[in-house]
Symmetry: C2
Subunit: 344 residues, 2 copies
DNA sequence: TTGTACGCGTTATCAT
DNA sequence: ATGATAACGCGTACAA
């Protein structure tokens, strides 16, 4: 029989027991645990030893009730299985883990009401801070929330006490994508928009128009198709475009999912990509590199987004000024785009 | 100015206040809240009214510390951004929400040690039960865990008190996929395996062999390529296969991601799918229907998996015998497979 | 059926 | 620097 000491995971070993075992008062143990005050080295050693021997694990629940930190942060995402935000969640997890915090995830489903409910639930669980991944809450509610506890929000640009906003440069990304197509000689570039209620979608449209204008190419409203950020909307957009018989040689979709849909629509009609039509997406989802053909797209660093958000929140919690910045958008050229000259 | 009563979200309104306001004792309020005992109707009405007026929300933290239920369940998944398990998480969220529970997610990264850590963290937070999505923990540890609190585990078949296992019929799925190819006239069917440490991977290999055998087709070890369940491993497997100059007319990949990789490998070599080679995947990921060509695959109900797991756990918590069953695998025929006769 | 009193495990406040 | 004591908000024996 192994001599291994079976340490009870959800430890029935209490702080009081540690105090007794090491001959000090509970308060001292608590202070050592939290670094709340200076403690003499010998007592600290004794306590540390007792903690190790007893296998003591602080009870986070009791800790919170007593008014301490919960060492947890709430994350309101939109959909727990979103291909884009999913990797952001992983980024958050990564950095929180290194500092002993745990994330509590809640899904708002792109609905301000639900997002608010998530926040309420999270606060009821006494999270120390909250990260809001984009979403539809008003800036106002966020501002109010930030008065109660530290908040980091992505997908918008705003300033408020106790709040840090992290925004991706959607405008520049879209400009880059469009410019790429333009530099390849394309002039009739269709654009599939995202859901217009998303600020991101609007910014990407702006970027598209700006690139066109800079190149002296006329903006044709008939070439911009409404989309909803999912595959089917991209597919239907292209079908409508094809039916309209508007000539075009390239498509820029406001996200990868719609680009996939667009790609499929062309495939169904026997139109080859990139031989006859070039496609550019936006996001650089995990699957983009393995699509047929591998999709040229704008890399939006989901992982970085999560990491930065978490880091910023940790800073806020430590009363430091967050400085995290998202990397600039990068164009990833793969095989779905080709110069117009070589097209046929 | 609106007369709306601003209810504090993380309510400073306590149970005691409700008791006072309604002229009863705190215990009575508690009993009403938890349905712990029978209470006279008039008192119940009074309390309910007070609760509504004060906007009282029970403090889950205090509730747990006092020995009550936390109304939360732990979910140990493998990667928070997994395309397959992601939708399972959504399924869990869905059903938990309807019964007032909240999920706490933790990622084990396919590593028994980490999974155990997740469980410890979860237990420290006093979850009422735990759902383990597959993973590498030993049956033994799960059995031990189930003695402490209700456990639902997916991806394995086992029985233990306080534990409910939910397994997908991987064998049958693989058999179905292979049989489909066989019925299309294919005889030289390559198989890209998953990571052999996964029981799923082994089962799928078994299914492949069983279908071959049933059809009287010889099993050729040279046609089974090791894969690791991700795109690149599928891609490399096919490259090796091609280089080996082993003749084959179809590929069955043990999951969609590897199928995508395989598809790309063929595309790079100018081999057309399904004209020259047919491909079948496994999982039916969200993107499978929009791949080029749309992927024929085995539908594995991730959403159902999550829902069933959550439902089973709720049953366990209510001391009912869980009866949830996963649906049988279904073959989804799309456009990546074609009869050998019409191939060229 | 209802109320009283205590305990859950920790941190904060106030002494010393 | 350290210790005693009082919360934190709720559940639950136990008593009535």
């Amino acid at each position: 029989m192994k001599r291994s000491k079976t340490v009870h995971p959800a430890g029935k070993v209490t702080l009081d027991m540690v105090a007794q075992a090491s001959g000090v008062s509970p308060s001292t143990v608590s202070r050592i645990l939290n670094g709340t005050a200076v403690v003499s080295q010998d007592k600290k050693d004794a306590v540390d030893r007792a903690i190790a021997e007893l296998g003591f694990v602080p009870n986070p629940i009791a800790r919170v009730l007593a008014g301490g930190r919960s060492l947890s942060v709430g994350v309101v995402t939109q959909s727990i299985d979103s291909p884009y935000y999913g990797v952001a969640l992983r980024g958050i997890e990564e950095v929180l883990e290194t500092v002993g915090y745990v994330p509590l995830f809640a899904s708002g489903h792109w609905n301000a009401k639900e997002e608010q409910r998530c926040i309420d639930t999270l606060r009821a669980r006494r999270v120390d801070g909250i990260i809001v991944l984009t979403g539809r809450l008003s800036d106002e509610s966020l501002r109010k929330l930030a008065k109660e506890l530290p908040v980091v929000v992505t997908g918008r640009t705003m300033k408020a006490p106790g709040l840090y906003a992290l925004n991706f440069n959607d405008f520049e990304g879209a400009r880059l994508a469009t410019h790429h197509l333009l530099s390849l000689g394309h002039r009739q570039i269709a654009f599939i928009t995202g859901d217009p209620v998303h600020p991101d979608a609007q910014e990407r449209l702006r970027g598209y128009r700006a690139a066109l204008e800079a190149a002296g190419v006329r903006y044709q409203p008939d070439l911009v198709l409404p989309g909803l950020f999912h595959e089917d909307s991209g597919l239907m957009a292209v079908e409508r475009l094809l039916d309209s018989r508007q000539p075009f040689t390239a498509i820029f979709a406001a996200n990868d999912q719609m680009a996939f849909g667009a790609n499929l629509a062309l495939h169904r009609r026997g139109i080859r990509v990139p031989d006859e039509v070039s496609i550019v997406g936006f996001d650089d989802l995990a699957g983009a590199g393995h699509a047929i053909p591998p999709l040229t797209t704008i890399h939006q660093a989901g992982l970085e987004l999560g990491r930065c958000a978490a880091q910023a929140l940790m800073d806020l919690l430590a009363d430091k000024k967050p400085t995290a910045q998202l990397p600039e958008p990068r164009l990833i050229i793969r095989s779905s785009t080709r110069s117009l000259a070589s097209a046929r």
